[in-house]
């Protein structure tokens, strides 16, 4: 008989109730949900995620998009792609959702203190990265230069547009944007995100880069960063995989032997460059 007395007998799958305080459409496909747990602050680190659920519909992993400093209320930015996310888009302030987590390793903020930070994000990648960017802005004195490169497919698909406008004027950081396909009124850059690299100045020895974007983006972005002389051990990325449990059990998120839900989603390039299923 297996002696399991010392371990907790509580099921890992029971969600905590959380209330939606506010819903704000960011684009035609993404909505921002301001959420609060009933009994406690979420207590997340940047780039961690939660399993969001709606009873009868299902569960999905969603990044926490807000700063770790204030997690009584936290943000989830959700694109409606399938079962859970579409159902979520129908919810309104006052409605409740289930939350498990936070899960994942989150970003090792202690390792980047005193560095130049270069954030590279594509599309929905801004959702998780925003938690880190906000953390850095709030702790501005701990870092040197803050540069944010953001690429979206179209101007109308840019997330957090008001915030981007504010960042553009903010002295504390340098925001550069590009879109793949321009629309009327767009006066900014056009082209894939790697075109932005050329315009930014980097101090290769002092720069830490963080990449979050769609799967196709990573290879190109890493190549560009390496060419600029940034060290492999200073390139971080958050990787997406299918996730069912977030607990290192269900197997869906495995990337070779690595459980992305526990050991990730944030990885250092030097740790995953030899992991064949990673990039």
């Amino acid at each position: 008989m297996l002696d399991t007395a010392p371990i907790s007998r509580k099921s890992l799958f029971v969600p905590e109730a959380a209330r939606i305080l506010d819903v704000e459409p960011l684009t035609a496909r993404e909505k921002l949900f301001r959420v609060s747990l009933n009994d406690r602050p979420l207590g997340h680190r940047p780039c961690q995620f939660v399993e969001v659920s709606i009873a009868g519909i299902g569960e999905a992993p969603i990044s926490v998009s807000s700063s770790p400093a204030s997690s009584e209320i936290f943000d989830l930015c959700v694109r409606d792609v399938g079962t859970l996310t579409q159902a979520m888009h129908r919810l309104e302030p006052g409605d409740r959702i289930g939350i498990r987590g936070p899960y994942g390793n989150g970003f090792p903020v202690e390792k980047i203190i005193g560095k130049d930070l270069l954030f590279v994000c594509g599309g929905l990648g801004l959702a998780p990265l925003r938690s880190l960017i906000l953390h850095c802005i709030e702790n501005r004195a701990s870092f040197r230069r803050l540069t944010v490169l953001y690429g979206a497919k179209r101007p109308s698909e840019r997330l957090y547009r008001e915030e981007l406008a504010a960042w553009a004027k903010d002295e504390r950081l340098d925001l550069r944007e590009t879109v793949d396909v321009p629309e009327e009124g767009w006066t900014g850059n056009v082209g894939v995100i790697t075109t932005l690299f050329r315009a930014v100045e980097v101090d290769p020895l002092e720069t830490v880069a963080v990449i979050v974007g769609p799967p196709v983006m990573y290879k190109f972005a890493v190549l560009e960063l390496l060419q600029r002389g940034i060290m492999e051990s200073r390139i971080y990325m958050s990787l997406e995989r299918r996730m069912r449990c977030g607990l290192g059990k269900c197997g869906h998120c495995q990337m070779n032997g690595i459980y992305v839900c526990q050991e990730g989603p944030v990885f250092c390039y030097s740790d995953v460059k030899k992991v064949k299923e990673a990039l």
Binding site: G56, P215, G248, K249, C250, G251, H252, E277
Partner: protein, 341 residues
């Protein structure tokens, strides 16, 4: 550890006695094969079986296992479902006991899975040693899993007209407590045990072209081998190999709703790395789109990834995946290819 003897004539009595103390699960005949199922009458028990379709570990990790009771109108009313009842698994072969040991390790790993562990902590295992290999595909001799060192409560070894019985745990001893069917082993029984084990050892054969401890490395060297393409061309992605595996534990989670549209259950279903959508994410990206990559992942998860994480293989050599694959994809043949045999 006690050494006891149980006459085969007393097995029906034992079955009845055990059935009164717990849910008794054992091998039963199904058509020309065998399955683990509840034993309510002694004649249902078929202790002399080669192997079963599904392994007994699936009793501890059932398909469609309910995890959370849901109220669609109130998330706060979600309640955990952690179930377990006193269960005896009788007649479990050594490879399958070791399959359960592996699931124990995985589900106890942080964070521990209460659903599995609660069921497990109420389960007593009465193991039964095999006298001969059960199929042309099993690797239990190469893997050393045809014998058993731990993970069981009682172990039975067939001596012809009687079973030699080792007790391993207090729970096992308590179970047979003062049941009248067991007597202490005599020197003659011990001698018979020695002979039985000798015959047993002689009947198993090496099937692999090299030592199993070379497998992790040999597989890694074969990561880009053409073997996977060849296997992938034949594989039907039917998921049988993983569903019948005693150590596979991948799952999916889905909600089931009652017709009142108010009550529901969040359940986990067996899933498989062989399914074509297993590693697909929203946006359509599939991280293992090809059957060849999925087959490679299956073998690597058994022999490389778990070896790196837990210092052991996760293949107990039961042979089920090979025996039941409709496309005749044989694990032993794949292993031999990478071992260079």
């Amino acid at each position: 550890m006690k050494t006891l003897v149980l006459s085969k004539m007393d097995v029906p009595g034992l079955v009845e006695a055990l059935g009164e103390t717990a849910r008794l699960i054992g091998p039963r005949k199904k058509e020309h094969q065998f399955v683990f199922g509840q034993i309510t009458k002694p004649e249902q028990l078929a202790l002399e079986y080669p192997t079963t379709i599904l392994p007994p570990s699936r009793q501890l990790f059932p398909n469609d296992e309910p995890l959370v009771r849901l109220r669609l109108d109130d998330v706060a009313a979600s309640r955990e479902i952690v179930e377990g009842e006193k269960t005896i698994l009788l007649g479990v072969h050594p490879c399958d006991v070791q399959g359960i040991n592996i699931l124990d390790e995985v589900f106890s790993d942080s964070p521990p899975d209460a659903n599995y562990l609660t069921r497990r902590s109420q389960t007593i295992i009465i193991a039964l040693e095999c006298q001969a290999p059960c199929s042309p595909y099993n690797l239990c001799f190469d893997k050393g899993t045809y014998r058993l060192e731990w993970g069981y409560d009682l172990l039975m070894i067939d001596l012809g007209d009687r079973y030699f019985v080792f007790t391993r745990t207090g729970a096992g001893e308590e179970l047979i407590g003062d049941l009248p069917f067991f007597r202490a082993a005599t020197p003659a029984d011990r001698e018979a045990l020695g002979r039985a084990r000798e015959t047993q050892a002689g009947s198993f054969k090496t099937r692999l072209a090299g030592p199993v401890n070379r497998l992790p490395n040999a597989l890694k060297e074969a990561y880009d081998d053409l073997l996977w393409e060849a296997v992938g061309r034949r594989c039907l992605s039917c998921e049988t190999c993983t569903n019948v595996c005693p150590t596979c534990y991948c799952f999916d989670v889905a909600d089931e709703v009652e017709l009142d549209l108010v009550n529901g259950t969040r359940c986990r279903q067996w899933d498989s790395c062989q399914s074509c959508t297993f590693a697909e994410v929203a946006g359509g990206e599939n991280f293992r789109p090809r059957p060849s990559e999925r087959q490679r992942h299956r073998l690597f998860k058994k022999e490389v990834y778990q070896y790196e994480k837990y210092g052991r293989s996760a293949c107990v050599g039961c042979g089920r995946c090979s025996a039941q694959c409709v496309a005749s994809i044989r694990l032993n043949e794949m292993y031999n290819q990478v071992l260079g045999g």
